[in-house]
Every structure is written in structure tokens, then in C-alpha cells.
């Protein structure tokens, strides 16, 4: 009776061990999404932070008394930024993403996004 009780447990242990052995070698942990900030001041996009990865968040801070947008030319994001406000967007893909302000087309920049 006692043996019968232990048999399923033993089987389960074997099954778990087999499953663990079947797993591929452990890969390095994926970097957790990070938050970056880009400041708009005096009609200019400030420096674009390095090390942006797909899945990261970019916070756009508009310090001007003017309304701006942060608009991706590939249409992946389009953020309207009223005067002295901020907004955020999650970057969903890697590569170079050029952006500009719809209202002031001379205001431009680009994100370099790693996978």
C-alpha cells in the first residue's frame, strides 16, 4: 500500500527530471525594458539617449510654450505634446527610426534601436 502511494511521486520526479534535461542550455536573461527621456526645448529635440532597445519606453518632455509632436516617419508612433507636457511611447521595433515635429518640420531626430 505504501509502495503504491510512492510510485506516482517517483514517476513524477522522473518526468520532471526528463523535462529539465530536454530544455536547451540556459540563455542569458533578456534585458528588462528601460525608460529613456528626450527633452524638447527652444524648438529643438535634445540628445537622443544611446542604448535604446526594442520594447523600451521613450518619454518625450516638451519644455517649450509651443505645441509640438514627436512623430515617426515610419508612422510607428505619433505623440502630440501640448506646451509644457510630456508623453511616452513604447518602441516596438529595432532599426533607425527618424522622427520630426509635424508642426515644425525642421525639428528632426532619429532613434537608433537595437533588438
Amino acid at each position: 500500500m505504501t509502495v503504491r502511494r510512492f510510485l506516482p511521486v517517483r514517476s513524477l520526479s522522473l518526468a520532471v527530471a526528463a523535462a529539465v534535461l530536454a530544455l536547451p542550455p540556459a540563455s542569458p536573461a533578456a534585458a528588462a525594458p528601460r525608460v529613456h527621456t528626450i527633452v524638447i526645448d527652444k524648438m529643438k529635440f535634445g540628445p537622443v539617449p544611446a542604448g535604446i532597445r526594442s520594447g523600451d519606453t521613450v518619454i518625450w518632455v516638451n519644455r517649450d510654450f509651443l505645441k509640438h509632436t514627436a512623430t515617426a516617419r515610419d508612422k510607428s508612433f505619433n505623440l502630440v505634446l501640448p506646451p509644457r507636457t510630456s508623453g511616452k511611447t513604447v518602441i516596438r521595433h529595432s532599426g533607425t527610426i527618424a522622427f520630426y515635429c509635424i508642426y515644425h518640420p525642421g525639428m528632426t531626430g532619429s532613434l537608433s534601436v537595437a533588438k
Binding site: K42, M43, K44, D64, F65, L66, K67, P83, Y103, H104, P105, G106, M107
Partner: protein, 175 residues
């Protein structure tokens, strides 16, 4: 009150940006410069409103909306400085001349429609911003003593230079 303010600033702008500059011995003080900044904006707000009432061109309307919004925002800042600097609006003959000129331009544009209006409006915007930017960089910014005023003018110049480029691009597209 606003009309007088506009008249006063506009006259100074004309004197600073046109041939009359050589005859204008007295350099504007900070209060007058603040007036001028306000006036330049107010004139372009009015032009933008006229464009929004007449144009059906998407790009022209978008530009006009930006002019109304941006110059309105700058004017809020300029007006706060005017109040802070205790400016007393002073009407004069040059302001009357500019008002007359602006009125003539508005009537001229009012007679146009469609593509002809769009082209004339944008051409005027290019010329207007070119004049204002020349006055800002050549006289107003160098002449401003108050740090806040100078900063506002510098921001304004950056903004108006962007407006000028935007207008120049539109002008090419409308040809």
C-alpha cells in the same frame, strides 16, 4: 488697448526692418521691443485667420493653423513681459502706415481665391517672416537688455526661422 499696442509695435518693426532704419535715430528700449514682438505675432495671427477662412488647401491650412497657434503662444509670453515692464502703448505715424499696409494686403488677398490665394498668402508669409527675422537678429535681440526678453526673442527667432523655412517649402510646392 491691443490695437494701440499693435500699432505701436508694428511701426517700430517697420522702422527697424525697412529703409527707414537709417532715419530712426533712437534705438528701441526693452518695452518697445516687447511691443514689437507682440505686434509681429498679432499681425501674423490675423493673416493666418484670413487664410483659414479662405483656403481649402490642406497644407496651407495646416501652416496657417500653426501660425495662429505659435504666434498666439509667443504673444502670451510677450504680453506677460509687456505687463511686467509696464509698457505704455504709444501710437505714431509709422504704425499707422504699417496698419494701412497690412490692411491693403488683407484686402488684396481677400479678392483672391483658390490656388491664387494660397500662393499669395504663402508668398506674403515668406516675406513677412524674412522681415521679422531680419529685425530680430539685426536689431531687436542685440538691443534687448532684459535677459527674459532677450531669451524670448531668441526663441521667437528660432521659431520664426522655422516658419520661414516651412513657408519657403510650401511656396515651392505651390508653384
Amino acid at each position: 488697448m491691443f490695437n494701440k499696442l499693435v500699432l505701436c509695435g508694428a511701426s517700430a518693426l517697420l522702422m527697424l526692418s525697412g529703409p527707414a532704419v537709417a532715419q530712426n535715430a533712437a534705438a528701441p528700449n526693452d518695452a518697445q521691443i516687447a511691443h514689437i514682438a507682440y505686434t509681429a505675432g498679432q499681425l501674423d495671427v490675423e493673416a493666418g485667420k484670413q487664410a483659414l477662412a479662405k483656403s481649402h488647401n490642406k497644407a496651407v491650412r495646416s501652416f496657417a493653423e500653426t501660425m495662429v497657434r505659435d504666434h498666439g503662444a509667443v504673444n502670451e509670453q510677450a504680453l506677460a513681459l509687456v505687463k511686467k515692464l509696464h509698457v505704455i502703448p504709444q501710437d505714431n505715424t509709422t504704425s499707422e502706415a504699417l496698419t494701412k499696409q497690412a490692411g491693403e494686403k488683407a484686402r488684396e488677398l481677400g479678392k483672391l481665391s483658390g490656388d491664387a490665394f494660397d500662393r499669395a498668402y504663402i508668398q506674403n508669409e515668406v516675406a513677412f517672416h524674412r522681415t521679422v527675422n531680419g529685425a530680430l537678429s539685426g536689431t531687436l535681440i542685440p538691443g534687448a537688455h532684459n535677459a527674459e526678453l532677450k531669451s524670448l526673442l531668441e526663441t521667437g527667432l528660432t521659431l520664426f526661422q522655422e516658419h520661414q523655412k516651412h513657408a519657403e517649402q510650401l511656396e515651392k510646392n505651390l508653384r
